[in-house]
Symmetry: C3
Subunit: 136 residues, 3 copies
Amino acid sequence: MRHTITLKTSKREELVDITRQVEDFLGESGVQNGILSAYAQGATSAIMIQENWDESVQTDVINCLEKLIPRGVWLHDRQDGNGDSHLKAGFMGPSETIPIIDGKLGLSRWQNIFLCEFDGPRSQRKVVCTIIPGHL
Amino acid sequence: MRHTITLKTSKREELVDITRQVEDFLGESGVQNGILSAYAQGATSAIMIQENWDESVQTDVINCLEKLIPRGVWLHDRQDGNGDSHLKAGFMGPSETIPIIDGKLGLSRWQNIFLCEFDGPRSQRKVVCTIIPGHL
Amino acid sequence: MRHTITLKTSKREELVDITRQVEDFLGESGVQNGILSAYAQGATSAIMIQENWDESVQTDVINCLEKLIPRGVWLHDRQDGNGDSHLKAGFMGPSETIPIIDGKLGLSRWQNIFLCEFDGPRSQRKVVCTIIPGHL
């Protein structure tokens, strides 16, 4: 089973919580056990599992990456001006694989699924979710 | 097939080798080919594949992350004092997917599976292992 | 279905594009939907999804990691002189999981699959590709 989540981003860099959309897809599939793979299409976006109590951690992620991978100092900036975006996306990675436990995502209390936007705003970002059923 | 490894950590930050527990689960499953997904529940822990010749690399991991992501300077610290723990966990990531080859984990000679503790000590950390059988 | 891509690297650190080899394997399998897991064996190598328009991003990846994780300052250097290689490999991670969509890899226009070499040159690096078929 496969479902592509399409979303819009509104800043150059932000984390967008997509947990509910992924849960909805899993619920509709009826699958009880196995794994769910979330994959961000786009070489300047990524998937991160992170807390979503408030905005603090998401802002810390953006600020921390900005210090580690500054803007405007990369070879690739001569082409697109987004060398830092590619580095952030590649280092964080586009894929996470999450267990399915009794029909629900096996996330812990403080784990949410985020699309990381590193080169927005974009009218359309896509996350491909694939469910592979398993046996108990 | 699914199995949750439960373990205890003894420091704020450490890498705990769980390769043997994962291998035991795979052995009991009898599965010969496919993939095994290891997923760390907990937004301040992660999974890392790393060498385990002695303690040196594990200590280097903790020290390197401490320099890149210092303690006490994050927005989230006002809430829990563990902003750095969340950043480290999100950047390293909770999931790794390992091939199953002839009934064994497809790790190379120097690859071991570690739970990374970034906000311990904790009495209970959980790693969900899911086996998806495949065909040759 | 499983296939191991074997390749040779020519520098201490470089990114080698293996997208075509992975696509060829997928094509031969005839699988239309599901996931493909790419796993780099070797504790000083990794898999990264990244742009391949020209050499710029790959060079930026190597240079950025060199600044974040310098050579020669790690405990593990006393053993093998490759402490930085292990850190880079562990942080980037050996596995990525990619959706299979209508018989093709679900990469976007600018996403390619790279083996990251962090301790070469090596006569033989191995990437294990496992296809798990799924249903639409």
